[in-house]
Symmetry: C2
Subunit: 183 residues, 2 copies
DNA sequence: ACCTGAACACCGTTCAAGT
DNA sequence: ACCTGAACACCGTTCAAGT
């Protein structure tokens, strides 16, 4: 039974979504593929790289057509798409945020954010700051929301999630700050 | 040789700062204290709780007198204090941010942020959103900065850290958004 | 080229037994 | 009350050997 790198990533996604990040071990993944743990290292150099590939796949699967024209609407669109992509998989926010922190993976949303902000007639210096600001907001908010959701579904009723409304309000705060600096 | 919970936390801080989070294991910590791993469980229920206590201690040690009067200056002061506290220990941002995500520890900075924002004559509904927004910014930015710093000192020259200027610009963006909503 | 089998050097946590 | 010793059920990764 031959299998390839893509099969490994796909299975990893499935294990992640069904059992969570703490259960996504190399040994567990190997067992799921009916293979010895050592066999995985022919398709992936190590676990860190595997997780970065999983993060990229989560983001990729969440892609949808973008139709906003105004730069600020595009920012909201990109951030919301990224949030929804991460929420679609168990522990998705943690996996994607961690990969981003270590500079692994494609980081394609950052590029799209940067482009949208550059269209906003912003001082070039501000584009980088704003890009990072939005990414931190998306990762932080989504991570917290997903953790709360999973804690709630596990019985522990913590704080209310906040949810989509809070998320957009948070984005809007930063957008207001940017609009004030725009012609 | 008797020792107490406080000694365990202190030692954990020392191991964290010298060898990093990945080396802060229960077994390593026990060895450092000259004791069997199982002995730690008389002072701390599990590793997660230990790490939350370490996070609290990092924040506590970073406390300094606050003198700002205006609500927006107080927000900057609180955020900067938290950032500096986390930067003072290796992997401090990751430890503190993780504890916060899981709702563990004291979360005293959140309370102080909330108080400062409430003084800002903000619509009550916005206070919570803004509090979370600032915390996400502080954790995200500091985590990224610290990771970059440690990667740089380990030889890998990645992206420039951004540093304090970027951090304050990011806060200012949100503050502008809030000031626009204030009387 | 791809995989197995076995090993290395670890983990967090529990628990009977000692003092 | 506090600690030891030993065990349980795991980890990620490497590497000689097989096909």
């Amino acid at each position: 039974m031959r299998y390839h790198r893509g099969d490994v990533i796909d299975r990893a996604l499935a294990v992640l979504d069904e059992y969570g990040l703490e259960s996504l071990t190399m040994r567990r993944l190997a067992a799921e593929l009916g293979v010895q743990p050592s066999a995985l290292y022919h398709h992936v150099p190590n676990k860190q790289t595997l997780l970065a590939a999983v993060a990229d796949e989560i983001v990729r699967r969440g892609r949808r057509p973008h139709r906003a024209r105004r730069w600020d609407a595009r920012v909201v669109e990109i951030c919301t798409e990224l949030r929804d992509a991460m929420l679609a998989y168990r522990d998705g926010a943690e996996v994607v945020a961690t990969a981003h922190t270590f500079g692994l993976g494609e980081d394609e949303p950052a590029g799209r954010l940067r482009a949208a902000l550059a269209d906003g007639a912003l001082p070039a210096e501000l584009v980088d700051v704003a890009t990072r600001t939005f990414l931190h907001l998306v990762f932080g908010h989504t991570n917290e929301e997903q953790t709360a959701l999973q804690a709630a579904s596990a019985g522990a009723i913590d704080r209310e999630p906040g949810g989509h409304a809070d998320f957009e309000q948070s984005l809007d705060l930063v957008l207001d700050g940017l609009r004030a600096r725009t012609g």
